[in-house]
């Protein structure tokens, strides 16, 4: 068949225009860079990992996140490095920085979503919402949030139903020359409370190195720490050989609870799981 030029143009226009319109209604899903292990977990929980083009060094879970391009530590981002991944949005906690780099990203047209960390359940919900918004998956985010809320309520009831005195729990972050323990205003302090324990350390905020005497007088019933911390010492046997632990009630019963650091302190979608696990192990040890 033979078409004149005009007819061919008309045909192209009639076919092409709806196609173009369709393409505009179905924009490419936004490309995401996540800065925080918990936020990266939310992306995977929403099934949006195909949109993930980069993560920071704290994004260690799930294992697939390790294979994504790494933009470095969350406080020391490189504007050009992040932009080279051509993201549409960067989702981070307010700890991300430096501020100049965040400004540079914004002025390059990248949407920067910042989520506050206040160590409450609201943190987790805010992360889910932020990812949902940035990824263009609001519906899935609402669904995930409802599921997590239900799970959280269930864990809360479980903890509230526990009988007996609340165990005194000491969280040890790391063992340097002196062990770093958690005071108030830390993720660990909040987690101990959620899991039905009492932080054995009071009177200071953040993580502080502690003397053996102060540890003894805090008299913790249970030591809470991370798998990574125990691994760094060479296992549980070596852990209990630390001199500063010998004078604690926990030592006599060898009561230690350890979880993966990101699971325990990340305040991500696995938080109900973390609290349930810590609660159960606190009350069985």
């Amino acid at each position: 068949m033979h078409y004149s030029t005009t007819r061919r143009t008309v045909l192209a226009a009639t076919l092409g225009a709806p196609l173009a319109a369709w393409a505009q209604q179905q924009p490419k899903p936004p490309r995401l860079v996540t800065i925080s292990g918990a936020i990266t977990e939310v992306v995977y929980a929403l099934g949006a990992e195909a949109q993930l083009v980069g993560t920071d060094t704290t994004s260690l879970y799930p294992a697939a996140a390790l294979k994504t391009p790494k933009v470095g530590y969350m406080r020391q981002l490189s504007a050009e490095g992040v932009l080279s991944l051509q993201p549409d949005a960067v989702i981070a906690t307010t700890e991300a920085g430096p501020p100049v780099v965040l400004d540079q990203l914004r002025s390059a047209g990248v949407k920067v979503e910042l989520v506050k960390s206040e160590y409450t359940w609201e943190d987790v919900r805010a992360k889910v919402q932020a990812v949902g918004r940035a990824a263009g998956r609001e519906a899935a985010a609402r669904e995930l949030q409802a599921r997590l809320d239900a799970e959280w309520a269930q864990v809360g009831q479980q903890v509230a139903a526990a009988k007996g005195p609340k165990p005194r729990v000491l969280f040890i972050l790391s063992h340097g020359p002196a062990p770093q323990v958690a005071g108030q205003g830390t993720a660990a302090d909040a987690l101990i409370r959620f899991a039905g324990g009492v932080n054995a350390m009071g009177g200071f905020t953040n993580y502080r190195p502690m003397t053996a005497e102060a540890m003894a007088s805090a008299a913790p019933d249970v030591i809470l720490t991370t798998d990574q911390g125990i691994e760094a010492l060479g296992g549980v046997e070596k852990f209990w050989q630390r001199p500063e632990l010998a004078l604690t009630p926990a030592y006599r019963r060898r009561a230690v609870v350890s979880l993966d650091a990101l699971l325990l302190l990340g305040f991500g979608p696995r938080m109900p799981q973390a609290v349930r696990e810590v609660h159960q192990r606190l009350h069985s040890s």
Partner: protein, 342 residues
């Protein structure tokens, strides 16, 4: 075997060529892919609003210029200090600029939100820069005033006072580390390792202007410094006003290094080795050492930053790690080659 000493002009032309080479290598490398053809088009004035050009003009170019200013400032200050103290181990850190800036930066990072919560809202990220600048100048002034005696500034006293004050500042920073939160601790650590990542046009323009003034001013003191190399008494006999030289050297160094350090954090090693390097190649005349150290410093920082930006991309390495990592072995090679002149 020792290579022949370079004529002053040849050495400076070589230095300038090194800076240009490092600048071009830096312009062409980075995490964001920018085709060389696009760079050339921009050079020819063909500025368009492509993403690549925006990245280059707003992120990479100010960073390169900050690298030039930082390296030149540190290099020229190092040459001034080594000339003034007549001591090959002298560097700008000796008179307290770096430690003062670090202490002030630490105070802002750790205590800023408690002590003056309103400041960040009005000054933004300038708070840290201004505090570091003021801290560096303040501590330097303290050391300078301490070294005043009946016969003017006592250089030996200034050196020892510098050692003591630096130790006190380091202790203060250690205490701040103790009370800092994890995030604050990381901020301090990164600040101490230096980075050109905070390059914004406004800050770069300020620092570049200050360093340019400092370099020009330093050149005027080349001859008096040559005289001081013979000894203070001899210089005085030659008609040099030694007190004025000392004051000028301290002020120029404090301004240049203070401005650079406030913007980039502490970039180690450049101020120490750049002047040595020039002396090894072109001899001890300050008319060559001062501009030569500025050029070599600029080339060294540019090269180190190009590696910092690309080796771990899309992340970046701290600059201070690389200036020493690259500069150290290269300097050792130089020392081997020019062994007889050390």
């Amino acid at each position: 075997m020792t290579a022949p000493r370079l004529a002053p002009r040849t050495a400076l032309v070589l230095g300038l060529a090194l800076v240009l080479l490092a600048f071009m290598a830096g312009a062409a490398s980075g995490a964001y892919p920018i085709a060389p053809a696009e760079l050339l088009r921009m050079l020819a004035g063909g500025v368009q609003d492509t993403p690549a050009q925006l990245v280059f003009l707003n992120i990479r170019l100010p960073r390169l210029l900050l690298g030039v200013a930082a390296g030149a400032g540190l290099g020229v200050a190092g040459a001034l200090m080594q000339g003034l103290f007549r001591n090959p181990l002298a560097d700008p850190g000796l008179i307290g600029i770096s430690s003062g800036a670090a202490l002030a930066a630490g105070v802002v990072i750790v205590l800023g939100t408690q002590w003056f919560p309103a400041l960040p809202h009005t000054l933004g990220s300038w708070t840290l820069m201004l505090a570091a600048f003021a801290g560096g100048l303040g501590v330097t002034l303290l050391i300078y005033l301490f070294a005043q005696g009946p016969s003017g500034t006592h250089i030996g006293l200034m050196l020892l006072a510098g050692v003591a004050v630096n130790a006190v500042a380091a202790a203060g920073l250690g205490y701040l580390n103790f009370i800092a939160t994890d995030e604050q601790l990381r901020n301090i650590q990164f600040w101490l390792l230096g980075s050109l990542g905070g390059a914004r046009w406004s800050a770069v323009a300020l620092v570049a202007a200050l360093v340019a003034v400092a370099c020009t001013a330093a050149l005027a003191w080349a001859r008096p410094l040559n005289a001081i190399a013979l000894g203070e008494a001899q210089a005085a006999l030659l008609g040099v006003n030694v007190e004025r030289v000392k004051r000028a050297a301290v002020v120029i160094t404090a301004l240049a290094v203070g401005a650079v350090t406030a913007t980039t954090g502490i970039i180690g090693f450049v101020g120490l080795i750049a002047p040595h390097w020039v002396r090894l190649v072109a001899g001890p005349d300050h008319r060559v050492v001062l501009p030569g150290a500025a050029l070599l410093g600029a080339a060294l920082v540019l090269a180190a930053d190009a590696v910092a930006r690309t080796v771990a991309q899309p992340a970046e390495l701290p600059l201070g790690v690389l200036t020493a990592f690259i500069g150290g072995p290269m300097f050792l090679l130089m020392l081997r080659r020019f062994r007889s002149r050390v």
